[in-house]
């Protein structure tokens, strides 16, 4: 994947602006995607992630800025001339064509010689196990098979960049997990650049080399999954990533101590962001459920809490307790048995917390 010594970016987006009528969907967006990178655009619906993908695909007119793919300025190029293949959420297979015809349609439209078409279709159908389906019509396929055909249609184009627009959202949970692995395997064997839009954080965390978390047409954080998960740059990212969700506590800082009503939590070991911070500023403390343990770690902050709700989830169990009068969830081993009303000693390590400015939501 990193065999090219010079870091030539695969896709570059500069100062991108997209407006519909009077509404601005994306404003001054910059993004650079490395060769062979798997980049996931993640965000809630309406955050601009699909808009960005469509702009990269050339399916949407941009109002300003520049897009280049593989070193070529394609801002005003037709989709077919951009060196991209695309997979859609609704599969978008041509309903009256067989699977083989669906796969070869783009090649036929572009006058690729017959022998070459046959070779590429054969190769793609072998990679995606489509051989037994080649003569069927899309209506005769299951959802998972349809999406594999759609992926195959992108593969036969033999392009540098693949774009995925929520490809798994129409599938049921089991198939989604299967195809997710298949896409990851595909990326590993092909080494193409892939840009993948989803609102599913699990897909993002499992597939991505880097995740771009978007909100309101702005990339909030662009980082590897682990970093996005462990060090979210703001409260939005922290709340969006992670399931079960992070617990938040609204309090204030007193030096290096987080004050929540009567509770004082020393933040020794927490890596504060650079820059001056107001010592008495109102802040939000974020704690991930799995960073709290029950009478386990000797170090860190400890408190006694009453178990309010027990949610068994199989491998894990989620306990709900309270800290300083605000609800907090704790993830514990699913094999341990807890009862509602029980009082437990909880501990967490301040180094793994997140602290956000209450006004701006930015990490401090």
């Amino acid at each position: 994947m990193t065999n090219s010594s010079r870091p030539a970016p695969s896709v570059v987006v500069r100062d991108l602006q997209i407006r519909y009528g009077g509404h601005t969907a994306i404003e001054d967006l910059d993004l650079e995607i490395r060769r062979g990178e798997f980049l996931v655009l993640l965000g809630p619906s309406g955050c601009g992630k699909s808009t960005l993908l469509n702009a990269i695909a050339g399916l949407l007119d941009v109002s300003g800025g520049e897009i280049s793919i593989s070193g070529k300025d394609v801002t005003f190029a037709e989709p077919k001339d951009r060196g991209i293949g695309m997979v859609f959420q609704s599969y978008a297979l041509y309903p009256r064509m067989s699977v083989a015809e669906n796969l070869s349609f783009g090649l036929r439209m572009n006058g690729v010689p017959k022998g070459e078409i046959a070779r590429r279709v054969e190769k793609a159908s072998r990679m995606l196990q489509l051989d037994p389906l080649l003569q069927r019509k899309p209506a005769e396929l299951s959802g998972g098979q349809r999406q594999r055909v759609a992926i195959g249609r992108a593969l036969v184009r033999e392009v540098d960049v693949f774009l995925f627009d929520e490809p798994l959202s129409n599938l049921d949970a089991k198939l989604r997990a299967e195809l997710r692995v298949e896409i990851k395997r595909l990326h590993q064997s092909l080494g193409n650049t892939m840009i993948y839009v989803t609102h599913d954080q699990i897909e993002a965390l499992t597939l991505a080399d880097r995740i771009a978390v978007m909100k309101g047409g702005v990339i909030q954080q662009l980082a590897p999954p682990i970093e996005v998960y462990q060090r979210p740059v703001n409260r939005f990212v922290a709340a969006f990533i992670g399931s079960p969700a992070m617990s938040f506590f609204d309090g204030r800082l007193d030096g290096d101590v987080f004050v929540l009503g009567q509770v004082r939590i020393p933040l020794s070991g927490y890596a504060f962001a650079d820059g001056s911070r107001d010592p008495g500023a109102p802040v939000t403390l974020g704690v991930r459920p799995e960073h709290v343990s029950v009478a386990g770690a000797a170090s860190g902050y400890a408190f006694d809490g009453r178990v309010a709700v027990v949610e068994p989830m199989g491998a894990d169990t989620l306990l709900w307790t309270e800290l300083g009068g605000q609800p907090m969830s704790v993830r514990v081993d699913g094999e341990r048995v807890f009862e509602v009303g029980q009082t437990l000693r909880f501990t967490f390590d301040p180094a793994r917390l997140s602290v956000f400015d209450a006004a701006t939501g930015e990490r401090v």
């Binding site: 399916l59 991209i84 978008a92 309903p95 349609f105 783009g106 249609r153 627009d165």
Partner: protein, 301 residues
């Protein structure tokens, strides 16, 4: 429902079955029967009258079955009845109507499909304005346009010709055809068009390879609308077709309203049925599609 009603009711367990409102059912079927009778009666009278001789008709009793059914009136209507000065029946009109119908239907559907496609997913500059103008056209009574069109056509030299009447039908068919196809194509998933663009298909390639193969329902409805509409047209044919191309409806009117001699009711009835035969055939052959066509045509009011 039938199966459930005839299923053996377990004895000893008096389960209260939901009662069907029988009175409501009876009223419904009665109303339907009356409505059906209302429309079938004229057809019945026409058919029996066309099979009677004039002597028998003069005796009255329009509901009576013909004493000795004969197809003489039918052959007379087809090839002997007088349409003005000529007495060659309405068969000329049948072939004129066919000559008008085929190109008019084909052209208006093709143009409507392409325009509807262009206005559906393609964002075309001024597309909405064009569509609004077309919609306005669909709601405008076409009688308003007759005089200006006559002047225009005679200036260009196609007034009173086959080309002229075909063009008129295509023009007046375009708003509804465009509306029909635009709505149908707008209901297709937009991703399909995007995928085809990524695959490198252009405007016409997407139309012919992707959109047209999916268009069967819209094409059938459009054909039903246009065939029945154009065949049944009277005034446009009368005004624009010219003496040599008068459609069947105009000749039928000439037969029925000819002022000379005795009114040959049997011939008139036969001629009327003959003229209505093609739309009737379309109706029987297309079945459920016909209803959809009517519903789509309902836009025009």
């Amino acid at each position: 429902m039938r199966a459930a009603a005839s299923a053996p009711v377990p004895t000893g367990t008096p389960v209260a079955r939901p009662r069907r409102p029988i009175a409501g059912r009876v009223a419904l079927y009665a109303a339907l029967a009356v409505a059906a009778l209302f429309f079938i009666t004229p057809l019945y009278i026409m058919t029996v009258t066309s099979l009677k001789s004039m002597d028998e008709i003069r005796q009255g009793g329009i509901f009576a079955l013909p004493a000795s059914p004969s197809l003489k009136a039918w052959t007379a209507a087809w090839s002997e009845a007088c349409t003005g000065l000529k007495c060659t029946g309405i068969s000329d009109g049948f072939f004129n109507s066919l000559r008008i119908l085929v190109p008019s239907v084909a052209l208006s559907i093709v143009l409507g499909a392409v325009t509807g496609y262009a206005l559906s997913h393609r964002r075309i500059r001024g597309g909405n304005v064009l569509f609004a103008a077309l919609l306005l056209g669909a709601f405008m009574p076409y009688q308003v346009f007759i005089y200006p069109l006559v002047r225009l056509f005679s200036a260009v030299g196609i007034y009173g010709s086959l080309a002229g009447i075909v063009l008129v039908h295509v023009i007046f068919g375009l708003p509804v055809m465009t509306l029909l196809f635009r709505n149908y194509y707008s209901s297709l998933p937009v991703d399909l068009f995007k995928a085809a663009r990524v695959d490198g298909a252009g405007f016409w390639q997407i139309f012919f390879y992707v959109v047209l193969p999916m268009s069967t329902p819209a094409l059938v409805v459009a054909a039903i609308l246009q065939i029945t509409g154009i065949w049944n047209d009277f005034i446009l044919g009368l005004v624009f077709a010219g003496r040599d191309n008068l459609p069947m409806t105009v000749l039928l009117n000439n037969v029925v309203n000819s002022s000379q001699g005795e009114k040959l009711y049997n011939v008139n009835m036969a001629a009327t049925i003959l003229t209505a035969l093609l739309p009737l055939a379309v109706y029987f052959l297309s079945g459920r599609w016909f209803v959809r066509g009517i519903a789509a045509g309902g836009v025009k009011g």
